[in-house]
């Protein structure tokens, strides 16, 4: 079942330097129980994308200028962008949960974690104090925090990074949302802790059947988590496909470059030069008319610079924004 249908979502920031086209015409579907990974370099618009879905873009300077976000649950299909603020508030947290990039800044340092999770539960589910407390403990148990009765009385700074991130996940999951948006939930963590968290998320997904939008720039993490992958470059999706399609048969030159530039453990690659993508990402407030990747692309031809690229000019059968895929 398709839970979320995003069409042509466009978010811009109106700044002194000009209009920043942070998300430009994003289109995708998200199915129940599946994971969509959004990958891309720093500043390409991943966080703005996830905030737009939650309608949390700071306004001004930002604004969602067009598009629709069709959300389909038991109550039927509706466009999140057309809901009133009050209706949207009820969807946030309850139907769509979110985990932020930096766990320390998104937990309130003056309340215990038990307080914060309990508040989310009380707000959306209600129930007596005792019920809320029991549920809080169950959530903390679920995300693998040992001795939850004690831990829930602690403040965020008393927890380690991994614990905090788990508390964030517990908070996001406390109302069993249909969709979980996770914005680089493991980037600030160590590999061994990251492995724990990824395991946990997959397990919870299996158990609760929720859909996940997972934002990251680590292709390794993507390979572990994704069913669908959207590769983002300078505010636009440049390639969308299943995990197998993207990793085994990448079509867009940017995707190909990204995959090649990760060092691997393969024997005989030590000391060899790494393949690279030359050049830098263009500024989002001053994008070229044609393909934004043109200046860094090996296959670039005149057409790439002169003409806007449609979603699938080569008829690959999925979104591949390249004339010469």
């Amino acid at each position: 079942m398709t839970l979320l249908q995003v069409r042509n979502l466009t978010t811009q920031f109106f700044t002194d330097e000009g209009v920043v086209k942070a998300v430009d015409g994003a289109t995708f579907n998200l199915d129940k129980g599946k994971t969509l990974c959004i990958v891309g370099e720093s500043g390409c618009g991943k966080s703005v994308m996830s905030l737009s879905l939650m309608r949390l873009i700071p306004e001004p300077p930002g604004r969602i200028v067009q598009g629709e976000i069709m959300f389909n649950d038991v109550q039927g299909e509706r466009d999140l962008l057309k809901l009133s603020n009050e209706e949207m508030r009820r969807i946030r947290g309850k139907r769509i949960g979110m985990i932020f990039q930096e766990p320390m800044t998104s937990l309130n340092p003056v309340y215990t974690i038990g307080n914060q999770i309990g508040e989310a539960i009380a707000l959306h589910e209600g129930g007596s104090n005792k019920q809320v407390k029991e549920r809080t403990i169950r959530m903390l148990e679920l995300v693998g925090i040992p001795a939850p009765e004690q831990r829930m009385r602690e403040y965020p700074h008393q927890l380690s990074g991994g614990m905090r991130q788990r508390a964030m996940i517990a908070m996001a999951l406390s109302c069993t949302p249909d969709i979980l948006i996770a914005d680089e939930p493991t980037t600030a963590l160590d590999v061994t802790i990251q492995a724990q968290i990824l395991d946990l998320m997959r397990e919870l997904q299996r158990e609760l059947g929720m859909a996940i939008i997972f934002v990251t720039h680590d292709l390794g993490v993507v390979a572990e988590m994704a069913d669908q992958i959207a590769v983002m470059y300078a505010g636009k999706f440049v390639e969308v496909g299943t995990a197998q399609q993207i990793f085994n048969d990448p079509k867009h030159p940017y995707t190909q470059g990204l995959l090649k530039s990760i060092p691997s453990f393969e024997k005989g690659t030590e000391g060899k030069r790494l393949p690279t993508i030359p050049g830098v990402v263009p500024s989002l407030s001053n994008l070229p008319m044609g393909c934004a990747f043109a200046d860094r692309c090996e296959k670039v031809k005149d057409r790439c610079r002169g003409e806007a690229v449609s979603e699938d000019p080569c008829n690959v059968g999925r979104l591949v924004r390249c004339f010469y895929a």
Partner: protein
């Protein structure tokens, strides 16, 4: 290159410009500086340029030459060879026009005269020199002391920090104004003493600021990089740390200038300031007391001048502070 070329200073200026009031204030301050510098040419009892008996002279720089009123007398009697240019305000700050004592604003005396027949506009213009120099010199002294102490405390920490921080605490506990009064009672009131005393009592704010900035920057990696490259402490403080503290110091300086001007006015008002023969805004106010009920212009004019100047410096300081707000960019 990601951004277009833009230095830190130009970034601050761009933010600063957004505040209309601050830009106006900047013009006010600039105008005051120009007026203070050109005071002898604007308001003087002697001609700017004179030709007499075939010789050119600039009487404004010659205290022995004839004043305008004296020239008026000989003008008719002497031969045709007398020519001179009047300053726009043909009165010095100590020209006693005995024909119009306590005159309200008239065509001749645009803002009236005081009880001794001195022209108010002229006094105002000359008084701005005192205000300006007190502001600049006193805060200059304060800034130098503050920067040095702040750097030493913040960079070396330990004992240096201990001593300087305690000193700052002690200094801030004293009621500065009364400290100044006491000191002046010993060393005697003069404009120089006032500047020095305001300077050496006013450095604590800047020192604290520089110290804080220093602590913030000292742990940054580029400072480590400088240490690793073998740079000496002096160089690190001067090249790597001070430039970061400069913008906030500038903010503090513009507030400081305002309070120094106010302090000078208050001191002069109380009679501890410049000698009575020198015109200053504070002494004008002080003298106006006697004629409170009949000479409204006597208090209104210097009072407004002080008000406008202090407002201008404070507005500039505030706009600067907003412009360097670290939340916006570093």
């Amino acid at each position: 290159m990601v951004n277009e070329r833009q230095t830190y200073a130009s970034m601050i200026w761009r933010q600063f410009k957004k505040s209309r009031l601050a830009v106006v204030s900047l013009f006010v301050v600039a105008a005051l500086v120009v007026i203070a510098l050109l005071a002898p040419f604007i308001a003087n009892e002697r001609p700017i340029l004179m030709r007499h008996a075939g010789e050119w002279s600039m009487p404004i720089f010659d205290k022995a030459s004839l004043t305008l009123s004296e020239l008026d007398v000989i003008k008719d009697s002497s031969s045709g060879d007398l020519w001179f240019i009047n300053p726009p305000i043909p009165f010095g700050p100590t020209t006693y026009d005995l024909d119009s004592v306590l005159s309200p604003p008239t065509k001749k005396h645009l803002l009236g005269t005081d009880g001794d027949g001195r022209d108010i506009v002229s006094q105002l213009i000359w008084g701005s020199r005192i205000s300006l120099s007190v502001g600049v010199v006193a805060i200059g002294i304060a800034a130098i002391i503050g920067i040095i102490f702040g750097l030493l405390a913040g960079y070396f920490g330990g004992w240096a920090d201990m001593i300087i921080s305690r000193l700052i605490e002690i200094m801030t506990c004293f009621p500065t104004f009364f400290l100044i009064l006491t000191v002046l009672a010993f060393v005697g009131p003069s404009i120089f003493n006032i500047m020095v005393v305001i300077g050496i009592t006013g450095w604590t704010g800047i020192a604290r600021l520089v110290r804080g900035e220093c602590l913030k920057v000292r742990g940054r990696q580029f400072v480590h990089a400088a240490v690793v490259s073998g740079a000496r402490d002096g160089r690190i403080m001067w090249r790597h740390i001070l430039p970061h503290a400069l913008a906030p110091v500038l903010v503090s300086v513009s507030f400081g200038v305002a309070s120094a001007i106010l302090a000078e006015a208050a001191l002069s008002f109380l009679g501890f300031g410049v000698p009575a023969s020198t015109a200053s805004w504070g002494s004008m106010l002080s003298e106006a007391q006697e004629y409170m009920d009949i000479g409204w212009w006597l208090t209104l004019v210097p009072g407004s001048a002080i008000f406008v100047t202090i407002m201008a410096y404070n507005l500039i300081g505030e706009a600067l502070r907003d412009a360097i707000d670290p939340n916006m960019k570093t």
